[in-house]
């Protein structure tokens, strides 16, 4: 700002710049700054970022500088240290039940948001296939795109993308590595070996001949069926043709739902 009048120019020099610290303070008051803190997860120490929309980012590091760097790769918002995570988050990470935790998926595409929301319905100890997710969101042909959407999940563990595995029960890719994924699923009580064995025999659905309900093999309801009453199916059509109905808990056949 320049003025012809020298006194006016002198007054213009009384202008005060906003320091970087004040800028973050201002944005924080308006709720536009993400806070972050350390959390314990089944994988060990991690850090999460969150804001008033929900949890925005989780990464497997306990180093604040590394975390800030990874956060900055995704978001151009300021980040500030906090003492504790949002209510319920610590418990959700410990138990794997994060369905009710608010997540900030504003920067995800509509497709990715649909994928991640679908994955949130998979319970602890259960798994689904990539095809299942694709069918569930009404895009049965987009199996590969589902894999890509899960690979860039900003909040792993909170949104359990590790519970989506290949149809042959091989874990498949994971943000923190395939070995970690298998480890995590075992920790949650999913029996990958048994599921793989069934898949090798061409079995992808299990029904009960007493209730006439069929499930995905890892469904809690399916695991309760007594051996003598288990009926095995290679696909949903086979189950339906024998007048079995799909389980309401695990929705084994979302394409028809």
């Amino acid at each position: 700002m320049t003025f012809n009048d020298p006194l006016a120019s002198k007054l213009a020099k009384l202008r005060r710049p906003v320091t970087a610290e004040l800028r973050v303070d201002i944005l924080d008051r308006a709720g536009l700054v993400d806070h972050y803190c350390a959390v314990a997860t089944p994988l060990g120490d991690a850090m999460v970022a969150f804001n008033r929309h929900g949890v925005s980012f989780l990464s497997d590091t306990s180093d604040a500088a590394v975390f800030a760097e990874r956060f900055a790769e995704r978001y151009d918002r300021p980040l500030r240290a906090d003492h504790r995570p949002t209510a319920g988050l610590a418990a959700a990470l410990r138990t794997g039940r994060g369905r009710r935790i608010g997540v900030d998926l504003r920067s995800a595409s509509t497709f990715q948001r649909a994928v991640l929301e679908a994955v949130r319905s998979i319970s602890v100890g259960e798994v689904r296939s990539y095809q299942w997710v694709a069918q569930r969101i009404g895009r049965p042909a987009a199996v590969r795109a589902v894999g890509t959407a899960l690979a860039t999940n900003p909040v792993p563990l909170v949104i359990p993308c590790h519970r989506v595995v290949r149809a042959d029960a091989v874990p498949g890719g994971y943000v923190f590595g395939a070995d970690i994924k298998a480890q995590l699923l075992r920790h949650e009580g999913a029996n990958l070996d048994e599921l793989a064995q069934l898949a090798r025999r061409g079995i992808h659905y299990i029904g009960s001949d007493t209730t006439r309900v069929f499930c995905v093999p890892s469904c809690h309801q399916a695991r309760r069926i007594a051996d003598g009453h288990r009926v095995f199916f290679p696909d949903a059509a086979a189950a339906r043709s024998q007048r079995f109905r799909p389980c309401r808990m695990c929705t084994p056949d979302p394409a028809a739902a």
Partner: protein, 188 residues
Amino acid sequence: MTDDLTRRLASNLDRAFPALVDAHGPLVLSILARLGDGATAEDLCQDVFLRAYTALKGYDSSRIAELDVRPWLATITRNLLRNEYRRLARKSTVPLSRCAGEQPRSDLGQPESSVVDRDSAEQLDELLRQLPSKQRQTVVLRYVAGLTTRETAAAMGCPEGTVKSDLSRGLARLRVLLAGSIDKEEGS
């Protein structure tokens, strides 16, 4: 430029708000520092932008797009300062004139400015506080905060002609005060 900012604020408030702070933060902070207490200016600056954010949140996008941002922010700042003075006046028995006059030495100049610059800035700040309230506000809005005369008039809620006369009277008075303080220094 400003049109672009209001357009961005209208389409995505949360994403564009940091740009509003970057573009007009110094304007708000300068008004607060020169019309209020230099020590609380930064705290009040947060309040001003919180008010601005809350207000924008409630506006529909056509209203945001038409907004004249700079005088609007200046008006919020003036209102907040007035409320702050009322609050202080209720709380303390110290007369307001003394509150405004007694300025603690604060970080007035910019960090890189020389000692001489800082001294003259502080001196100018003190003299500014001796102007009649309306002249002082007008001078600060126009020359320190850098609003145009039109924007100053909008923020002060008076015609542009009044702004112009307040400015020339204010500057003339400042010159007299400035000359007087230099005489004093040379005399001692």
